[in-house]
Homo-oligomer: 241 residues x 2
């Protein structure tokens, strides 16, 4: 039996009761090294198998092979589908007709990071990854453009890496074609983990801010504001009646 | 102290460890009647205060008033920000300078419903509510249009109500201007609750399907497919190597 488990931000408390229960009953925990390192702190007595970045296919096949006879958790931070391993596990499972797969949802960083900032996701929003490893940049920037035009809150995953240090800045340039430079934005780094830090800033400040791959970026819509140091996108309720 | 708590889909297991802990330590649980009814099953010994729909402002003020001297959980299904009460609580808290507020994230139905269907959110996605109580329809349909052009997966919340029975059908018409009628779609009703049901269907079938307000709707992107009865949006990993 294979469970693909999203374990949330990385704090133990952000995990669902279901994720914890399934990890506890699993024979092997399989995942990217940075993720299994987090879980080892909470579940030190389990058996782990981990591989590095860009070894996703090999990791999923290992999990499927072992699921024939054992209970395996293939773990992802956040949710198991959002830029996670659930899709790849289902795709590769066609070669493992006897293996049952269950997908276990989790709190993705748009939500856990949003709670740190306040309530940036109070209205319609778009989640876009700036990683161009598997998606052409043209398609990414086009999605940024249309989300900007439609005044959706935009949450950016994987905003930066060594090879693409200027991607967030280029995304901000595109957004500023349609949205005010004073638009309220936020960044959250190491959500739920040691050294968590967050910042609220304007879109034009964000353009000139260096962020790393452990950061999730929030770009408000035209109504997003700062209240008592928190980023809030109103749903539209009347406040004064 | 006021906590605004997202408790996930409604199954106890979809709750985070943190949400459970905070509800257990709260003196009063405040929420929409349908939500407190769910929590009463899991936490029968707590004190509850509930009000009906469209009484959000009054409910939040009750929670803030009581937070001066007590520990209060203002509860929302799913996440506490995504069409939830977190934003309104922060907005109204300017009149309660002595009340501390903490926002507790949860698994929103895009994620919990996605896990039921398979892995529809394997790539960039947009969450849009079709409720026009607080947002003009023109703005909603424009967001649907831009999400369609940019080939994002679209998750639709509040797809229907008595007064707007044809909104989902009109949204499908708009999407079909840019996306194939055979696009893979999914619906999940009563996620994590009694009577949970899900269906995978094409966009043209979805257009002619009646759904209710307890349903979350998923519209795939151009690469979304059905694998072993599951809806999967690939991230783009090479499967055959």
């Amino acid at each position: 039996m294979l469970y693909v488990v999203g374990f949330g931000s990385g704090s133990r408390e952000n995990m669902t009761l279901e994720a914890e229960k399934i990890i506890l009953k699993s024979d092997i925990i399989v995942g990217y090294t940075a993720y299994t390192d987090i879980l080892k702190k909470y579940f030190p007595d389990k058996e782990y198998y981990s591989t590095g970045m860009r070894q996703e296919r090999e990791r999923v096949i290992y999990a499927l092979e072992n699921s024939k006879k054992k209970t395996v958790s293939l773990v992802c931070s956040g949710d198991s589908s959002v830029y996670g391993m659930a899709g790849l596990a289902i795709e590769l499972s066609i070669n493992y007709p006897d293996v049952d797969i269950e997908i276990i949802s989790g709190v993705t960083s748009a939500l856990s990071g949003g709670a740190v900032l306040g309530s940036p996701l109070g209205h319609d929003f778009t989640v876009i990854s700036l990683s161009d490893l598997l998606t052409p940049w043209d398609k990414i920037i086009r999605r940024i453009e249309y989300a900007s035009i439609s005044d959706c809150v935009i949450v950016i995953y994987n905003p930066s890496s060594k090879k693409r240090a200027d991607y967030l800045s280029r995304a901000c340039d595109m957004i500023m074609m349609y949205r005010n430079p004073d638009t309220v934005c936020g960044t959250v780094r190491n959500i739920g983990r040691e050294g968590q830090e967050s910042r609220i800033l304007t879109l034009s400040e964000l353009k000139n801010t260096a962020v790393d791959m452990f950061t999730t970026v929030f770009i408000g819509n035209s109504e997003t504001k700062v209240i008592n140091g928190r980023m809030v996108t109103p749903r539209g309720y009347k406040i004064n009646e």
